[in-house]
């Protein structure tokens, strides 16, 4: 991975995070604008970094875990920039950018290679699988961060202390809506991700479903989200409790994912 571009990207994201945080502390819109520009520069360098990495890897482009993090963090930034003005999420930059920075640092520190060797690695399913899993992660991260913001605003309103920060955030109903929309989209992406993962497994080990721990986590998460979304749609379940549940679910899946490694037998 290009050291210069990694440091440059991380630097832009770091200062952008600071800008977003200071904007909230001093409630000065201008700081937020500066942060946004730093973020835009950051994502340009990030794109160059990602493109360089993919070119260096050659077909099928995404091979290691570092690439996954690089892709996922890029996808989160892209999702954030795409929805920020439409949903008044400008102030949430203070949550999004640090998260991306964290994942980027992960990409540098954790350089695990997949246990795929020989022909299996030169397989188009690898690319499709990692691409969709990155997007899934990005969209679930959106629902996670919006969920946290919701809990903050909800508790302020419930306890009759609506601070000045609230003027910067979307309304409760809107955040509830974004949260479930993101979960639904994420669920669809996860389905494709799991399917392509199974296809990859078939190529690598001859079985669609092996005792790969990460595969188990993914399928488990899929089942949980399926139940959760189903209950939400049927009963109109909304508000704090549902969001707490989905936040815990997201954290659980992430922890499990990081703790376990792919094991292709």
């Amino acid at each position: 991975m290009s050291i210069t571009f990694s440091i440059l990207t991380a630097g832009f994201y770091l200062f952008s995070s600071l800008g977003y945080l200071l904007q909230l502390i001093f409630s000065r819109r201008r700081l937020g604008l500066v942060a946004l520009w730093l973020l835009r520069l950051g994502i340009i360098v990030h794109t160059v970094l990602l493109a360089g990495e993919l070119r260096r890897n050659g077909y099928p482009f995404i091979v290691g875990e570092a690439d996954l993090y690089l892709c996922a963090s890029w996808a989160i930034m892209a999702v954030f920039l795409a929805v920020r003005s439409r949903y008044r999420l400008q102030a949430s930059g203070a949550l999004f950018v640090p998260l991306v920075l964290l994942i980027l640092i992960f990409a540098v520190v954790r350089r695990g290679e997949y246990g795929l060797a020989g022909e299996a690695i030169a397989n188009p399913w690898v690319l499709i699988h990692i691409l969709f899993m990155s997007l899934t992660f990005a969209v679930f991260a959106l629902s996670f961060l919006v969920g946290i913001t919701y809990l903050y605003e909800e508790s302020q309103l419930k306890n009759h202390h609506p601070g000045r920060l609230l003027a910067w955030l979307p309304s409760l109903e809107m955040m509830d809506g974004i949260h479930y929309k993101a979960l639904t989209v994420g669920f669809a992406l996860l389905s494709v991700g799991i399917f392509s993962g199974a296809a990859l497994s078939k190529v690598a080990s001859g079985k669609f479903f092996s005792e790969d721990p990460r595969q188990l986590v993914a399928v488990g998460a899929w089942v949980l989200y399926a139940i959760f979304l189903n209950v939400h749609m049927k009963s109109g379940w909304r508000g704090r409790k549902g969001i707490i549940l989905s936040i815990l679910g997201f954290l659980g899946v992430i922890v499990a994912f990081l703790a376990l490694e792919h094991r292709v037998s």
Partner: protein
């Protein structure tokens, strides 16, 4: 030329005095023309609202103009001059300019940051223009003041936080629902504050306003003014699940909205949020409903608490406004100084040029002594000499201020060269 303001406001005078002194807009022209009768006063504008009465003047002499203005105000208000003089403030030049900037931006208002005053300044100015009592200086001053007011509103948060109970409630509704278009509102009771909140909501284009009042006629009257519908008071809680926002301001002395009814309504709404505003004392909505998931209840004390902290927030913002004002006053005064200088510069140049022309005429006027080409060269040469001599004093006058208390450079030049 000096800017002078003579007046009183809620900060210096009690309401009884302000009432007496307040000048109706149809009497303003009369007072203005009276003010300008004095030879020391060149331009004038009068701001008269329920919180302040102030005469803004452009005068040749500060003390004499202020004295005369307070005399006029005391005559108009029917208050003895000795009494009035204790309450009046007189500010001049930089202080007067800063004062108008503060007033126009709402920094000096009773409710800091209110925007009505900006409109009142505009009206006062329009009246003065109509009566031809303004000139170069007041025009510049008022335009700048309105400009500064706009700048303060965009650059500071002075007007951002609601400072009325009913408007604070509406903003809370927006925090919960976002866009209020299409939301349904139920108004319980026809109390004044509740009606005001409902009016703010109707301005946000809510879908429907239902009014339930014990006396049906009064409810119907209100329904008409809010273009809402009337529902029988006894039945409002049967269809509670249909509304998103409930405002209670009845005279009942117990809970009109009960916990069970709200629980049931929430079940039927499938947990979609509801917002309850209780502006009545004693309270009309059971405070226990705030514990129900997705239900938000604010009573009058909560709303007042928000308003108070918003007022403090505005005070804090007014400090950044003061910084802006200080910078703008400096810029304005130096711009005005330039207008002051231009007649002097013009006179100076004219005098020197006429001397130059006179001397050339004296020596070569009869003709024959030099050729036209030589004469042209002579003209050019002498003009250059004059310009070079005048260059330094003019630049000095434009860019440097004399020491405190010393006469202005322009005054000195006028004396030295017998201008005017």
């Amino acid at each position: 030329m000096h800017f002078v303001v003579v007046g009183l406001s809620h900060k210096t005078a009690p309401i009884e005095v302000r009432e007496c002194l307040a000048v109706d807009s149809d009497k303003v022209p009369q007072v203005l023309s009276k003010l300008l009768q004095n030879g020391d006063v060149q331009e004038g504008m009068l701001i008269s609202t329920c919180n302040r009465v102030e005469a803004y003047l452009v005068a040749k002499h500060v003390e004499r103009a202020a004295q005369y203005a307070s005399q006029v105000l005391s005559e108009e208000g029917g208050i003895k001059e000795e009494e009035l003089s204790k309450l009046l403030y007189v500010k001049n030049n930089g202080d007067a300019v800063a004062h108008l900037f503060r007033v126009a931006a709402g920094v000096d208002s009773m409710v800091v940051g209110e925007s009505q005053i900006t409109g009142q300044v505009k009206e006062a100015y329009a009246l003065a223009v109509e009566n031809r009592t303004t000139g170069v200086y007041l025009n510049k001053l008022v335009h700048k003041a309105l400009n500064v007011s706009k700048r303060i509103r965009t650059e500071t948060g002075i007007g951002d936080h609601p400072v009325s109970v009913s408007y604070a409630a509406v903003l809370l509704a927006e925090r919960i629902f976002g866009d209020l278009a299409g939301k349904k509102v139920l108004l319980l009771g026809a109390g004044e504050m509740g009606a005001l909140a409902a009016k703010h909501l109707s301005e946000k284009k809510v879908g429907e306003i239902r009014i339930a009042n014990r006396t049906r006629e009064k409810g119907a009257e209100l329904a008409q003014s809010l273009s809402g519908t009337v529902v029988p008071f006894e039945e409002f809680s049967d269809r509670l699940e249909e509304v998103d926002i409930v405002i209670a301001s009845t005279a009942a002395d117990d809970f009109v909205v009960k916990e069970d009814a709200v629980k049931e309504a929430m079940q039927r709404r499938k947990g979609r949020p509801m917002f309850f505003i209780d502006i009545s004392v004693p309270r009309n909505i059971d405070p226990a409903i705030n514990q129900i998931e997705n239900v938000y209840l604010y009573d009058i004390d909560h709303l007042k608490g928000i308003v108070e902290s918003n007022l403090k927030e505005r005070e804090r913002e007014s400090r950044s406004a003061e910084e802006i004002i200080a910078g703008e006053v400096k810029g304005f005064l130096s711009a005005v100084g330039q207008i002051d200088l231009s007649p002097t510069i013009e006179q100076l140049s004219k005098k020197f040029d006429s001397i130059r022309k006179g001397e050339i005429e004296k020596y070569f006027g009869k003709g024959g002594a030099i050729t036209p080409e030589q004469r042209e060269a002579m003209e050019g040469c002498t003009r250059a000499i004059v310009n070079k001599i005048l260059h330094d004093p003019i630049i000095l006058m434009k860019t440097e201020e004399p020491q405190e208390g010393a006469p202005k450079y322009s005054e000195i030049l006028k004396k030295l060269f017998k201008l005017e």
